[in-house]
Symmetry: C2
Subunit: 296 residues, 2 copies
DNA sequence: CTAATAGTGTCTTTAAGACATTATGAA
DNA sequence: TTCATAATGTCTTAAAGACACTATTAG
C-alpha cells in the first residue's frame, strides 16, 4: 500500500504534478585553484634546480573586475555535478585534463559577486608541471602561472573566560614577471562555549577578482594542512622522481626547510624504488622512484 | 582613468545595465548532521553510565520520501550564507541555537532530488546533550534523536600498475526505540596517475530520505578523522566534565576502546583542572575539568 | 681533485602502547 | 569492607629531530 500525502497523492502522482516555485535561486560557479611545482632554471651545472609553487590565473576580459586576474571556473550546468563543471571549465580554458581534484569549500556570501547572487563551490587541483601543455589557453582567454607565497604577517591571540579570539593576517603574493598581485586576508576565530566562528576577510586585494584571494588562501592552508599526513604531494611530481625532488615539493608547500634523513625515513613509503638513476647531475646521481599511492 | 570594456562601459555602468540571464539555476539547500553524546541510564549505582553517539532526524510529512527520516535543513535565501541558512533552519525546526558548525561538502548530483535540481551544502554540528531542549521540535515537525553506528562491512583493495582501486562498504544503522533505519554505502576510490576518483554510492537506504545516508556517512567519517588531532570533541561535553567522560566521547566516535593512561597524557591539554569533584559516584570521585580550547 | 649532492648511521628526544599499582568514597 | 573507578608510575616501542659521516659523479 503506497503512502499518500495530505492531498491524497502517491509519490508518483505528486512528482508528476510538481512545479518548482518561482523563488529566487543562486547561480553556482565551480572555481579552481590549480597548483603546480615548477622547476626553475639553474646555471651552475653542479647545483640542483630549485622548485617554486605556482598557481594558474586567468585574465578577465570583461566587467566586473575587468583586467584583473581570476581563478579558472564557470557556472555549473543542470546536467553535471560541480566537480564535472570544474573539470569541464579547466579543459575549456586551459586544455588541462585528468588531474587531481578535491572539493575545498562553498563560498556563499550573497554579495561576493556584484552582478548577482552567485555561490562558488571551490576546488583545489594539483598537476605535475611536466603535464602542462604550454600552448594551452590558446583561445581568447589568457591563462598564466603565478608564483605563490603566503606569509603569516601577524597573529594575535586573546584568551577569554570561556575560549579565545585569534586574529591572523596573511599576505598572499602572486608574481608573474612584472605582474605582482598582493592581498591581505584576515582570519578571525572567535571561540566560545557556543561554538566557533571562523571568518576570512579580505583586507586588501590588488589585481585579484571577486573573493578569489580568500579562496586561494583557503586552498594554500588546506594544502599545507594535508601534505604531511596524506600522499597528496605525489600529484605534483613526475612519473619518475628523486626523493630530493619530493622533499622540495614538501618544502615549497610548507614554506620551510626539512631535514633529509627524517624526511626519507617517513616518506619513502610513498616511493617505489626503480633501477634507474638521474643523469648528468654534476654530482652523485640519485635513484629514481615511482609513485606508490597510499591505498584505502 | 577607469577601465572600459569592449562596449565602452565602466564597471559602474556595466553593473547598472546588467541583467542576469534566464538560464536554469539550482536550488541550494543547507542540510545538517547534528551529533550529540547522550548519557545512558545506569542501574548499578557503582557503575559509570555509558554514552551513545546520537544524531537528529526529522520525519518527512510530505512527498517525496514521505514518512521517511531526513536531515534538518532547508533552502538558502538570497540574503544569507549557507551557514546562516543552516543555523536558521536548525533553530526553526528544533529550537537549538549557538552550536558548533562546520561545513562538510556540497553534494551536487543533478538527480539527488526527484523534484528538481537541488544542491545540498552540508554541515556537521555538535552539541552537548545537556544543552538540548527536549521540548524542541514542538511545531508540526517531528524531530528525534537516533543512535548512530557506522561499521565497515568489507574492504577490497586491488593494486594496479599505477595506482589502486579500493571498495569499502559501510553499514549505517540509526536506531530510535523500534525504528531501525539501515543503509549500505559503498565508497569507491580509483587512483591512477591522472588523479583520484572518490565516489560514494548508496547501495540501499531504508527509511532515509534523498542521499542523506551518504551525507551522514561522510559526516561520521569526517568526525572520526578530525577527533584525534583537533579539540572538536569538547563540543560534545558539558561545561564541567571528567576526563573519563571525555574519553567516552572519543570512544563512541572512534568506535573502539582507548587506554586510559595514554589518553590522559595526550588529551589533558584540552582540559583545565578545577577544584571540584564529581559526586555520589559510588567509588572514588573524579576531578572535574573545564574546556581549554586549542587556540590558533 | 673538487664541489655538490646522495644516501645512511646513530644518538637524542618525544610520544604512544601496554599494563600494573595505589588511592578513594558511597553503600 | 567492598566494588568500581580515579589517577599515576613505568617499562616498552616507535617515530621524529639533529647532525655527522661516507659514497659518487661530471667536469
Amino acid at each position: 500500500m503506497e503512502p499518500r500525502d495530505k492531498n491524497g497523492l502517491t509519490e508518483k502522482e505528486f512528482l508528476a504534478q510538481y512545479r518548482p516555485g518561482d523563488y529566487e535561486r543562486p547561480s553556482v560557479a565551480a572555481d579552481m585553484v590549480i597548483f603546480t611545482a615548477k622547476v626553475c632554471k639553474e646555471e651552475n651545472y653542479r647545483k640542483l634546480p630549485k622548485k617554486k609553487l605556482q598557481l594558474l590565473l586567468i585574465k578577465r576580459g570583461g566587467h566586473p573586475y575587468i583586467n584583473t586576474w581570476a581563478l579558472s571556473g564557470g557556472f555549473v550546468n543542470p546536467d553535471e555535478t560541480t566537480e564535472q563543471a570544474a573539470k569541464r571549465e579547466l579543459l575549456e580554458e586551459t586544455g588541462i585534463d585528468n588531474i587531481y581534484l578535491e572539493q575545498l569549500y562553498t563560498f556563499s556570501d550573497p554579495h561576493r559577486d556584484p552582478r548577482m547572487w552567485v555561490m562558488s563551490c571551490s576546488y583545489m587541483a594539483l598537476v605535475d608541471s611536466g603535464k602542462i601543455n604550454v600552448s594551452a589557453g590558446d583561445d581568447a582567454k589568457c591563462a598564466e602561472w603565478f608564483d605563490v607565497s603566503l606569509k603569516t604577517e601577524n597573529t594575535d591571540i586573546n584568551e577569554t573566560n570561556n575560549g579565545f579570539t585569534s586574529v591572523t593576517d596573511y599576505i598572499l603574493s602572486l608574481q608573474k614577471d612584472n605582474d605582482l598581485l598582493k592581498a591581505k586576508i584576515r582570519l578571525t576565530k572567535i571561540r566560545t562555549d557556543n561554538g566557533i566562528d571562523t571568518k576570512y576577510d579580505i583586507i586588501s586585494s590588488d589585481g585579484l577578482a571577486f573573493d578569489h584571494a580568500k579562496i586561494i588562501t583557503f586552498a594554500i592552508l588546506r594544502l599545507r594542512g594535508k601534505v604531511t599526513y596524506t600522499d597528496i604531494a605525489l600529484n605534483l611530481v613526475p612519473e619518475y622522481f628523486t626523493l630530493t625532488e619530493l622533499q622540495q615539493v614538501y618544502e615549497i608547500i610548507l614554506d620551510r626547510e626539512l631535514l633529509k634523513a627524517p624526511f626519507r625515513r617517513k616518506y619513502s613509503t610513498l616511493a617505489e624504488e626503480t633501477d634507474m638513476f638521474a643523469k648528468y647531475s654534476g654530482h652523485r646521481p640519485s635513484k629514481l622512484f615511482r609513485k606508490k599511492w597510499l591505498a584505502e
